[in-house]
């Protein structure tokens, strides 16, 4: 239908009059102003709570619950970091230094094994031809829709059999087998969109499979792998239910569990302490996001669009 109407409309196209140009320009300016108005107010709604949280870490209990403006009334309070100190020291025998170390003991190995396993598996899916490949690939897509909640009980029983309860193994081991299928999928899609010229040249030059993978494919995959590493870093930092199920000794708590514990024991002493430590807990993720937000957006976009 559209092609018909377009064709019949074409001959009628003429040079627009001056008034029309002005009207279009005005309409565009109004549209632009309206867009900025919406974007600005929604942006405020999105970010103000975070600013408020930051300001509240310098406020007294009384001020937290009476003021809208995020900065404390007395700006010299901004120089008082005692809430950060108290929050960090906690009211338990461990400080947040322990909890951060624990978090990194989970996050760092998990990111590394995720990168290795995803690269290998994605390489196989995207480049090799063998019977059953399509079937395996469709299983991978299927498991992306499989809610982890159905698997929790048997996984727990399995790790219990293996004597891995209250260790970090249940949180790291699965990632070594590329079962975070979202990531594998992301890398497969990226590799499929990359030309094979360089690899073919390297094969002719006599590279073996591992050399090819390390010297040609991994450098090509760099942007996708950075996305994977960043997402895995933040998701693992934020992971709560995993440690909640598997970690029972306080000494082994990662930041997420420790924060929940602080919240439970704080009572009504000084809310600024728990708020301050929440900000500190967000810092690693915030830093990573601001340094590399391009990779997050690209990763999130490509996973969806090419699906």
């Amino acid at each position: 239908m559209s092609s018909d109407t377009v064709a019949s409309a074409l001959p009628k196209t003429r040079i627009p009059s001056n008034a029309e140009v002005l009207r279009t320009q005005r309409r565009e300016r109004i549209s632009l102003a309206l867009r900025y108005l919406i974007l600005g107010s929604v942006g405020l709604l999105m970010l103000y709570p975070l600013f408020w949280l930051l300001g509240a870490s310098f406020k007294s209990n009384q001020e937290i619950f009476t003021t809208i403006w995020f900065l404390p009334k007395d700006l010299t309070q901004l120089l008082d970091f005692s809430a950060y100190y108290n929050g960090w020291m906690t009211r338990t025998e461990f400080t947040f230094a322990t909890y951060f170390l624990n978090s990194f003991l989970i996050v760092v190995p998990r990111v590394i094994v995720t990168l290795i396993s995803c690269t290998l598996v994605a390489y196989s899916f995207a480049r090799f031809e063998y019977p059953g490949r399509k079937f395996l690939f469709s299983i991978m897509i299927g498991t992306m829709l499989l809610p982890p909640i159905v698997l929790r009980v048997p996984q727990y029983l399995m790790f219990k059999e293996l004597g891995m309860i209250d260790t970090y193994w249940p949180l790291i081991l699965p990632s070594a087998f590329a079962v975070d299928t979202f990531f594998t999928f992301l890398v497969v899609q990226f590799l499929r969109g990359t030309p094979r010229d360089m690899e073919e040249a390297a094969i002719i030059d006599g590279c073996n499979a591992l050399q090819l993978l390390w010297h040609i494919v991994v450098p090509l995959l760099k942007p996708a792998l950075i996305s994977v590493a960043l997402f895995q870093f933040i998701w693992t930092m934020n992971d709560f239910i995993g440690p909640l199920i598997y970690i029972s000794t306080v000494e082994k708590y990662p930041v997420s569990l420790a924060l929940k514990m602080s919240m439970d024991v704080t009572g009504e002493v000084a809310w600024a302490n728990i708020i301050a430590i929440s900000i500190v807990a967000l810092l690693p993720s915030l830093t990573v996001f601001f340094l590399a937000q391009r990779y997050f957006i690209e990763g999130a976009t490509s996973s969806g669009i090419k699906g």
């Binding site: 919406i38 974007l39 999105m46 395996l136 924060l259 807990a281 996001f289 997050f296």
Partner: protein, 295 residues
């Protein structure tokens, strides 16, 4: 070399082992366990359909939890998608600072699952928290957000809507992919902005709407962190989502059999909704160049 079947299998081997050990086996085991009574000590006893019978006829908490979860998803999924699409549409324009806005809107999604954000939310919705202070300045009486059976779930809804970023970046990319020529043609035909949106934009991005919908449904039915942290399932079970019920049955009361049965009912619900959507997609999802998409 890429013809080498052996190398292909070698590289995919971790995945085959992993998917068997950590997904397919637990998946089957969970189904089997749902027909047993298994209090963690000792071995599972086969009890047939008893768990499912108990759930349907004898467990008010199951029905309560189901109602809470389903109504939550019914509100959050459309709300999130609508906000995400609206913002993406506003952003899809020759704008200065588009990257800043895109990052700012995506930030809550990235941080959203964190316990620290739940802590923040809890403070915002206190009786004397920021939200009520703001309401007070416009003359609305303070609302007992966290203490009332009626409002508690809305704090979780608000938190989830606040995290529309993931869906938004996907929508934005899709909008940017709509061929300009179509809009030009519509313009010449004299189509208004709203008509262009309805008749050009919407049909073209239906595959992405469909994708986002499926992902959000799978996600929302498993909501755990926020209700567990902010409202602790209460008050009066008004935020007692299925994920919390399953967690408590399994890891607080160690009723592994019953917890498995509950998780299978939730799984079945998600699958039937997703299946229904897939079935309906042939009526409303429009694929252009289906052949090219296959590879």
């Amino acid at each position: 070399m890429y013809e080498s079947k052996r190398l292909g299998y070698l590289f995919v081997l971790p995945f085959i082992l992993g998917i068997l050990a950590f997904n397919l086996f637990p998946f089957a085991a969970s189904f089997a366990l749902s027909f047993t009574d298994y209090p963690l000590i000792g071995s599972p006893t086969y009890i047939g359909l008893e768990n499912y019978e108990k759930m349907v006829f004898d467990d008010d908490l199951f029905w309560k939890s189901m109602t809470v979860t389903v109504s939550f998803a019914l509100i959050v999924v459309p709300a999130r998608l609508a906000v995400a699409l609206f913002i993406a549409q506003v952003l899809n324009f020759k704008l200065r600072g588009i990257n800043f806005f895109r990052a700012a809107y995506y930030l809550p999604t990235i941080l959203g699952g964190s316990i620290a954000i739940s802590v923040m939310w809890k403070f915002l919705f206190q009786q004397k928290g920021l939200v009520n202070i703001i309401l007070d300045t416009v003359g609305i009486d303070p609302i007992p957000w966290l203490a009332s059976e009626r409002y508690a779930v809305w704090t979780i809804v608000a938190l989830n809507t606040w995290q529309f970023g993931a869906a938004m970046v996907i929508f934005l990319a899709a909008l940017q992919g709509v061929p300009k020529s179509l809009y030009e043609a519509a313009e010449i035909d004299g189509a208004s902005f709203w008509q262009q949106f309805r008749n050009v934009t919407l049909p073209i991005i239906t595959p992405v709407i469909f994708f986002n919908m499926i992902m959000q449904i799978v996600h929302c039915f498993q909501e755990f962190n926020a209700p567990y942290m902010i409202t602790e399932g209460g008050p009066l079970y008004s935020t007692y989502f299925m994920a919390i019920y399953i967690y408590e049955e399994a890891f607080k009361y160690f009723n592994m059999g019953y917890a498995s049965a509950l998780s299978w009912v939730l799984f079945f619900l998600i699958v039937s909704i997703a299946g229904g959507l897939f079935w309906s997609s042939k009526y409303w999802v429009f694929y252009s160049g289906e052949k090219e998409r296959a590879r």
